[in-house]
Amino acid sequence: MKALLALVRTDLRLYFSNRRAIVISLVAPILIAGFFGATLGGNPGKRPARIPIAVVDLDKSEVTKAIVASMRKDDNFDLRDFELAPAVEQVRAGKIRAAVVLPKGFGEEAPRALFRPDAAKPEIEIHVDPSQAVTMALVRGLLAQHVMEEVARPAFGGGAGFSLKMPFETKEREVTSGDRKYNPYAHSFAGMGVQFILFSGIDLGVAVLLMRRMGLWKRLRAAPVSRRLLLGSRVLSGMIVATVMMLGIYAAGIAIFGVRVDGSWPGLLLVIAAFGFLTSSFGLLIASIGRTPEATRGIAILATLLLVMLGGAWVPTFIFPEWLQSATLFVPTRWAVDGLEAMTWRGQGLETALPAVAAMLTFSVAFTGIAVACFRWEE
């Protein structure tokens, strides 16, 4: 036990004495999580960015002028005035998301087509930025609303006071815990925390390979300590480091970005500790499979990124295809991300944390078992 403590103490001392590395290990996930959180709608209550588009009115009729005016008033749009060719060029350059072209004759043809199914429908051409598929759905929907309102006005003989509106309103209620608004930082901190802590697991594995190269591993093995103790000390120290670092990341998320633990605190701590074990066993697995530090680091980074991506750390798993959502239940990081989210913004209780903890412990034990079985003891 004393030898184990000495080894763990040494590992922790070496890790935490490198202040620059600590700061970078903490600052990087916090900054990136902050960035993703802000991008995904951080600062709840703040109005989202307006969509820059152009409307090219080739008709110049009363109807099309009214459509343009109506769209200009819409807070969702940042309407820019361009002729057709420059508008298309602006889309190509990525300066605006779309260019809507109202064709000549639209003001006459559209009201007619509204009531006569056999009448030819005028065609609104939309030049789109193909990288903005999600935005396009929004543009299409809002455009339909504005066109319907303004086309219907003369068709129904309405004057300035006439207005054809949607016959209903929608009210969105965010289903989080209680009445609190969803904080997107809660997701980004879970995702980036998992990603960067797993990177520290790579460091743990590579450190063992470096120790082997330096002869340190030989020296430790020559001491009267068991193999189990030598590997166990690495797992324990790695778990402590990962847990402390994750707590640091969440502390920053709570203090700076308003992440709240609306669920169970003990549940969150259990999830973090289980993830710490998962990280260190992952590191040990890397050490047992790897040959040289250089080659191992590259492969381990690739494996980590795949784990992180499939675990829903970058984008939530619900946007995955259904088969992939099921498949990712066999990805340990999925349980980490889900567990962290459940304990924060989803406001779930301890009982929800337990399956995630159990899954991560199962993966950790499996990783450790494989690592011990594959570990190369002889040089």
Binding site: M214, G215, A222, A223, P224, E378
Partner: protein
């Protein structure tokens, strides 16, 4: 004190060690000499329990050596060929860790750390990190790490590689002092002048086998043969026994 008998180790079809035996008494330095790939490091690895022999046995003061923790291992100290130190841990902290692994603690550990630092001439550098040390200082600390638990048998695998003459001389004086205190030492080296100065008994190995094992004086007598042009020296005897062909390792 140390008795290794009929050690065998093969890697696939290649026999790295084929029946090497070695005996070291207290107060004796035994040199293990051989060209690259002769089986020196594998032999040391088997003696220290790092590598399990395919056949043969190792006894330390009558106790069989196993791979896991046991009393025999506590009585051995290994100085690896590499500078096996935590570069970012102070010299004293390195020694404390090694002592703790051998079950030493408290005041005894403090005393042992101070003693070995003084022995290798680093008493005033206990708080400094090896990363700031010269090559010679690192080598001396490398030896100190193997001494902190006061082993009866010390195995040194080419411990003077890359050090300046002053540090090498200091290391020799340390080793001679340990011999005078009754320690048993096994010293592997490529440098014949080191073996000539230090070793009481020399074992020359080649292709995994012992080709000569005798006192320095008796080995030098082999060099009087007419085939040796420059007269008797350990190097000429060594070349006579192992041949002059280049050995680039296996």
């Amino acid at each position: 004190m140390l008795e290794a008998t009929d050690l065998w180790k093969s890697y696939g079809e290649t026999a790295a060690v084929a029946g090497i035996s070695l005996r070291v008494e207290p107060g004796q330095i035994v040199g293990l000499l051989g060209p690259n790939g002769a089986g020196k490091t594998t032999t040391v690895s088997m003696i220290t329990g790092l590598t399990a022999p395919d056949r043969g046995s190792v006894y330390v003061d009558g106790m069989a050596l196993g791979e896991t923790a046991n009393d025999a291992k506590r009585r051995l100290g290994l100085v690896p060929q590499e500078i096996a130190l935590y570069e970012d841990l102070g010299a004293g902290a390195n020694l404390r860790l090694m002592g703790a692994l051998y079950g030493i603690e408290g005041r005894l550990l403090d005393e042992r750390v101070d003693a070995v630092l003084a022995l290798v001439g680093l008493a005033d550098r206990a708080g400094d990190k090896p990363a700031k040390f010269s090559g010679g200082m690192k080598r001396r600390l490398n030896i100190a790490c193997a001494l902190v638990h006061d082993p009866d048998v010390l195995l040194l695998d080419e411990p003077t590689v890359g050090v300046d003459p002053q540090s090498r001389n200091a290391i020799f004086e340390n080793l001679e002092s340990l011999r005078d205190r009754g320690k048993a030492l096994v010293y592997t080296t490529h440098y014949m002048e080191e073996a000539e100065r230090l070793c009481d008994h020399i074992v020359i190995v080649d292709h995994g086998r012992v080709v000569a094992s005798d006192t320095r004086e008796n080995l030098l007598k082999l060099g009087t043969a007419p085939a040796v042009p420059k007269g008797p020296s350990l190097e000429s005897v060594f070349l006579q026994l192992t041949g002059s062909a280049l050995r680039d390792g296996r």
